[in-house]
Symmetry: C2
């Protein structure tokens, strides 16, 4: 088993990208990552593409080999990996295993989604294809609906309040406004989205108790990384980032089958595996990207990965512990909430952001000072399939 | 890099499976493979699912984690791999790399497709989603259309005749009739589909010069294998089969961009890599599963992998060299032509059939006597992405 490093990272701004198709976005972000890796004439052995919706949204299959041709990387091996909203994390994991195995030396991993090829309810319907077809989907359950029910249970059991949720949204949109890759750039306030008598207009209910600003937007976007064995990194201009640990766990397909639906077992297990492999404790992590498709998820995940005890995550946000300069800065990228959530891109984008943070490249307004360790959590299904990575800066 | 063995193989009969959904077929074939592996209480670390059409045909995503739950394999890792008609080969390759890396010890790989959830032209349209959206798909190019043009060029350049094609169909349907897992069980004759004045009715044109019996059927089906490190195989009741070599190569997305469209470069390269890794020559192979989605492809691939010189493949079929008892028996399973071609299942089914052949388990009517080495070629796109495996019987 070889140690695997990330030597290149690239992204394109997330948002409405009306002029770009899925293949364009995959190509642009790949070229950014390859350029960042400075491979020169060195070839790429394999390309792993993450997309949840190429077939459903673009009516296109075999996009990975199409991308290899477009990037002039023939005859590199190519596959698409789909794992719901954790497709990106899964593709990075596939790249990790491939390089660790010794079969491939250089692997490009790129995740992308063109969500806005459909409009309105169709985007929500698309994401709902991950639910159980007979036990959930046919009854009209959507992801916002599930998240609403989950939030209600979490509030009742752990005392999370509307204010805690609002503080996550405010924090992440504030950071998104500072991130040139983020979809949402609007600063919001507690007055505007909660306290004001107009807040029900500004911030209408989506799935009670969740409101508009509790949910991530529907975004287009793509992100990419280049992996190679750590011992092949020589004279790199930028510090290589070691994939020091990874974890992955699945849970029941339907939420109703879980003994305690507020217990995200797969998050706990995936993070534990990643941290143990990296020989790190939660308190050793300097920066984290958690999967805040809904504000409640950032709070719940921050507890499940071990940053806070159960029931302490909401208060921690309100106390500023998760903001830049806090004890554990979470989603200083803006997270899914503000950077956006092109589903296939998200798991890769979390890794790209963390690579940039660990290289100290994001600029002083967003940089976690001296960050050397990072944790990412990519949440598929409604916690059905979770992929986590522990990353470490090496060589200095 | 650890040596990886196949310790379990399972399949379900291909064909019209009107009562089974995709998830049912994935589950049944997985259980067959797990049972065959005799794992007992030993857990599975990861499940890789191959499907090209789950999203388009079943409007379902994240099928891999759904399957893990259905098989009670939680919290095993899970991913779906899509690579057009080579999805199955790609999933086996992902399993190979994962076990070789040392991260996972036991991996279940299962490929399946429920093609008959749609009817008529929609199945052909679905497969055409692998073509170039702007250079091919919008002009109505289908895979039978491409194969027809390819056949014409191949006939003109290499002297392949209609009779050669017909002999492939007759051979493979004869073997399919002997294979309990095959979709097509009908024996056909040269008189019936070519010589008789009624042959144009019996065997109508599909895409000139290809006729009905030159094409594989539209089938439902699934197949699965269980992988583990060779050195962990102890007291196995059945001989473990070593994945001695694998190869994969991509080619241009559009056929029109190839200098010589009859030159299937990715087939040549993938087979060469697989054989070299296994330290075998083409003449060392005892049994082969080639991707005969159309009769011409069996002939063309048999030349490109090195069994015959260019232009000799058609004659070789007519001379009986590729039938059971010939110098290199090809598709004694019936191939895609008769076993059927549920696209995500095919690459895995080729491996399952070869495992059974190398274990000498298929029964005397189909068994290649004393077979110890096998080659599989899974052809994605129109040769855009080809995955090949060289398998070897070990321990006796």
């Amino acid at each position: 088993m070889r140690d695997v490093a990330i030597i290149g990272a690239g992204m394109i701004p997330f948002g409405r990208r009306d002029e770009d198709g899925l293949m364009d976005m995959l190509a642009y972000s790949s070229l950014n990552a390859l350029d960042d890796a400075g491979l020169g004439d060195k070839s790429v052995d394999a390309v792993y593409v993450a997309s949840m919706g190429a077939g459903i949204l673009q009516h296109q299959t075999a996009v990975a080999s199409a991308l290899v041709d477009r990037l002039s990387l023939l005859p590199a091996a190519a596959e698409m990996i789909e794992n719901g909203p954790a497709s990106g994390g899964s593709a990075v994991k596939m790249g990790l295993l491939a390089v660790a195995s010794g079969y491939y030396d250089t692997v490009l991993v790129v995740g992308g989604e063109k969500m806005r090829d459909v409009t309105g309810w169709r985007a929500t319907d698309f994401v709902a294809t991950l639910t159980h077809p007979l036990a959930e989907y046919i009854y009209g359950v959507t992801l916002p609906g599930m998240a609403g029910m989950f939030t209600r249970l979490y509030m009742e059991k752990y005392g999370v309040t509307r204010e805690h949720l609002v503080q996550v949204a405010i924090k992440n949109q504030k950071m998104g406004a500072l991130n040139p890759y983020a979809h949402v750039e609007m600063i919001i306030t507690q007055e505007g989205i909660m306290d004001s008598p107009h807040s029900v207009v500004n911030n209408p209910p989506v799935a009670d108790p969740l409101r508009l600003y509790d949910a991530c937007p529907v975004s287009d976007g793509a992100a990419a990384v280049v992996l190679c064995p750590l011992d092949m990194v020589k004279n790199a201009k930028k510090p290589p980032i070691l994939i020091a640990g990874f974890g992955q766990a699945t849970d029941t397909h339907t939420l109703q089958e879980r003994e305690d639906p507020t217990d995200l077992k797969a998050v706990t297990l995936a993070a534990k595996q990643a941290l143990e492999m990296a020989k790190l404790k939660p308190s050793d992590i300097h920066v984290a990207e958690l999967h805040d498709a809904f504000t409640i998820l950032e709070i719940a995940e921050s507890e499940h990965v071990g940053f806070f005890k159960k029931g302490e995550g909401g208060k921690a946000v309100a106390e500023g512990k998760t903001q830049l300069g806090g004890t554990i800065p979470i989603n200083v990228s803006g997270g899914l909430k503000a950077r956006g959530h092109p589903v296939g891109a998200t798991g890769v984008a979390q890794v790209v952001e963390t690579v940039w943070q660990l290289r100290h490249e994001v600029g002083k307004e967003r940089q976690v000072k001296g960050a050397k360790t990072g944790l990412t959590v990519n949440f598929g299904g409604f916690g059905n399939n979770v992929v986590a990575f522990a990353l470490k800066r090496v060589n200095q």
